[in-house]
């Protein structure tokens, strides 16, 4: 018996054109799910689409940074068994330079989009009883890094929001959980590494006893949270960081 069986489940993945969203789409299609992928970049979404196993999947391009985009997407959606909110942006910015424009840039995607999409699918009753929502946070919400004020605060906010959703919807057996990864090898990871000096890069690597994460590591945890194997877990935040926090923080 396959404990993480997602057959007969219909799942929406945001930010599916890259990184964790893309890897999750591939993995959960292998586990039997029917997937709706969304994102802004149609060309890259097609690439994700071509990597999927099974049939019945669909691309629904949408700009989630705008309420109109969320509205259109929600109308097109079928009833869902799960949502993976993996769209996210990272924009290092020193504290004293932060203006409204920069807050909007980061919060539109990292906080407002998942919050507004959640409202929209709940209001339109597109989430089935027993559905599971996964929000992507980051280890940095608890352990800051220089230049990360906006990113880390947007992630801390989504963690608190996720717990509130879990509480309000437990009676419908709709679950909401967060995953907070450490550094995972994605395009975002490359950007983070590029911003560091060589010296810093080396000391950073040492902080991860199990090495940096792979997309598949996070995708596996997401698959678990989407599956009925996790039916007793809601309002949780899974910290997965290759041992970073036991070792050095």
């Amino acid at each position: 018996m396959n404990l993480i069986d997602l057959s007969n489940k219909t799942i929406l993945i945001t930010g599916a054109s890259a990184g964790i969203g893309q890897g999750t789409a591939k993995l959960i299609s292998e586990l039997g799910a029917r997937i709706f992928i969304t994102g802004r970049d149609i060309e890259r979404l097609k690439k994700t689409f071509d990597s999927l196993s099974g049939t019945g999947h669909q691309i629904l391009p949408a700009d989630l940074s705008e309420e109109k985009g969320i509205e259109i997407l929600t109308k097109e959606l079928p009833e869902l068994d799960g949502i993976v909110h993996s769209a996210g942006v990272i924009k290092p910015f020193p504290v004293k330079f932060i203006g409204k424009k920069h807050i909007d840039e980061v919060f539109d995607i990292n906080l407002f989009a998942p919050v507004l999409l959640t409202s929209a699918v709940l209001k339109s009753k597109k989430l089935k009883a027993g559905a599971s929502m996964i929000f992507l946070s980051s280890i940095s919400s608890q352990h800051p890094y220089q230049g990360g004020a906006l990113y880390t605060s947007s992630k801390a906010a989504i963690e608190a929001y996720c717990r509130a959703v879990a509480q309000e919807y437990a009676h419908k057996k709709i679950r909401a959980n967060c995953i907070s990864p450490g550094l995972v090898k994605t395009a975002m990871f490359k950007e983070t590494m590029n911003a560091m000096t060589e010296e810093k890069r080396a000391t950073y690597a040492e902080k991860y006893p199990l090495g940096y994460g792979e997309v598949k590591d996070v995708a596996s945890a997401i698959a678990f949270f989407l599956s009925d194997a996790s039916r007793w877990i809601t309002g949780a935040n899974l910290q997965m960081d290759g041992g970073l926090s036991i070792n050095h923080l």
């Binding site: 290092p92 020193p94 330079f97 220089q146 230049g147 560091m196």
Partner: protein, 76 residues
């Protein structure tokens, strides 16, 4: 755009650097105060004042403040 203005802006934002201590030929990475935070400050300052988005690689390709200024002008 004037390089002397740009230097003044850098001196003001770096805080630890004394006024009139930076020159166009200064290798900014060799400043004793230089850190990854200063790289972020340069990127943010240039974004806000000149509406130019510098990457980490852009910054690495520059040696002196004058190199940096030339790059900003090119990208504007």
């Amino acid at each position: 755009m004037d390089i002397n203005n740009f230097i003044k802006e850098l001196e003001e934002e770096f805080e630890e650097v004394e006024a009139n201590s930076l020159k166009p030929e200064t290798s900014f990475r060799d400043l004793p105060e230089w850190s990854s935070m200063h790289a972020l400050i340069v990127i943010a300052l240039v974004d806000i004042q000149y509406d130019v988005l510098l990457t980490g690689n852009d910054l690495r390709s520059c040696e002196t403040i004058s190199d940096l200024f030339t790059l900003i002008k090119k990208k504007r």
